[in-house]
Amino acid sequence: SAAAGTAAGLLQPRGARAEADIPEWTKAAGARARGYGTPAAAEASVQRAIIEPWQDVAPAFSLSGTPHHRLRGTITPNGLHYEVHHGGRPDIDPARHRLMIHGLVERPLQFDLEALERYPMATAIHFLECAGNSLFNAVMPEPMQAGCDMLHGLVSNTEWSGIPVKVLMEEAGVQPEGKWVVAAGADGPSLARSVPMEKIMQDGMLALYQNGERIRPEQGYPMRLLLPGFEGNMNIKWLTSLWVTEAPVHTKDESGEYTEILADGSSLQFTFAMGVKSFITHPSATMTMSGPGFYEISGLAWSGAGKVAKVEVSADGGASWAEAALAAPVLPQALTRFSLPWHWDGSPLVLMSRATDETGAVQPARADWKARYHASSFLHYNAIQPWQITAEGAVQNVYL
């Protein structure tokens, strides 16, 4: 079937071969397959942002935030999932770790990892958000100029697999008076929280795997409690004990650190689920616009109460709003990517996003959020994030 062409037709000078740049990696064999991969060396700056409030005296109390402005999609890779360590990341020998179930149960039990591997497992994609996420916006008098890693990095989203805690509770046999479960970790401070039995039995998971592989040390290796939608602190890492009680026991974190003082001086306790929230990742603070023209506005939205129903975007500081597209599948208690095509004409303006969840809850403006709480309060901050774009194209954090 080879039609003989004219010499002129066939032999067009392929001058490009000489003139085109052929990079050296296209002229050599590359490296062999490897057992476990790592990111490209050129991406080494894509790291979690580390926050150590008392670095000099208490370095083990340390946090790190997911660099959402460097990421796309909705899944957080395991290496970049946020961390909050109240007493540092313990180095646990999985062969010696055990999960105890005791208290108001018929049969106090303990489980090692080998036994747990035999249990039925469930899988679900869920966000985790620290109750203190976005704290700088909540309390700093002037907006901090930093990236989404510092400003909103204490939320991440992964696929969790593990055993429904219900299965283990039923094996132990919960007594009728057993209405709460005090979960405790095997870290230095033995971090403990009281969790309603209702939540434990509804969708509490003993998570053993994250994004397919065994949970990373900073996420609670070899096991953590997962309570979809509830503040990160309750999702006890390095979980070693589930103690069934008739009432909450008022652990340290539910007595002070994870309570919120309201404007009138009274406090909220047992605030568990995270509210509806969103922020734009592209563009976002610390970025510079590369000139007028087309941009896709893209960001993340979520709610502890269920699915995101709607995300609206404003490019005029809130005067008008347009509905963004949500990337399928929209899952409950999971980060949802929204996007909207946009043309920037080069003039200064303020971009912002406002999420509504399936219960109808809507993100508040910062002023409305602040009005509800004591000036020192910074937990469960879910106000709208405005980004100001200057005429020079700088993207900056602002309060409206």
């Binding site: 033995s190 026991v249 309570t259």
Partner: protein
């Protein structure tokens, strides 16, 4: 439904940090300590993080409130029992679970006394600690009881 592979757990196998001292005092051990007992201990083991007298910080000063921390453990928390349990399980940060029960009572007493919640002479014990009336007790709204998982 499950494989039923849980092993029996004897009471003796349950470490103290797998439970928590309850507001009514259940779980408190024998022992006692006064603020005076606690003062030197606090200076030696706690002051480096929480401040010379407990209100300076930098870390969440347990004595206050002040501009550093609005929710000081010794006056904001609803129950004094939490102080005992938390100090025993978690503090000092670099050597948690190293304190004796007497030392823990003494440190709880010191923090409470510095907050003006108890006087200097009263020893904290399994009987006295649960009876301490915390000033902020009764000033909390239980959001779970009120509206369950609905975010505030």
């Amino acid at each position: 439904e499950g494989p039923g592979l849980g092993q029996p757990l004897e009471t003796a196998e349950i470490p103290f940090y797998a439970t928590y001292v309850k507001p009514d005092g259940t779980g408190l051990p024998e022992g006692s300590g006064t603020a005076a007992d606690g003062e030197a201990l606090y200076a030696a083991k706690c002051a480096s993080c929480h401040g010379a007298t407990g209100s300076e910080g930098p870390v969440m000063p347990p004595v206050g409130p002040n501009d550093i921390w609005a929710k000081p453990a010794g006056s904001y928390w609803p129950y004094a029992t939490t102080l005992f349990d938390y100090i025993r399980r978690a503090m000092p940060l670099e050597a948690p679970k190293s304190l004796s029960d007497d030392e823990t009572y003494a440190l709880a007493a010191y923090i409470l006394e510095r907050n003006g919640v108890i006087d200097a002479e009263t020893a904290m014990t399994a009987e006295t600690l649960p009876q301490v009336k915390m000033p902020n007790h009764g000033n909390f709204l239980d959001v779970w009881a009120r509206q369950g998982a609905k975010p505030w």
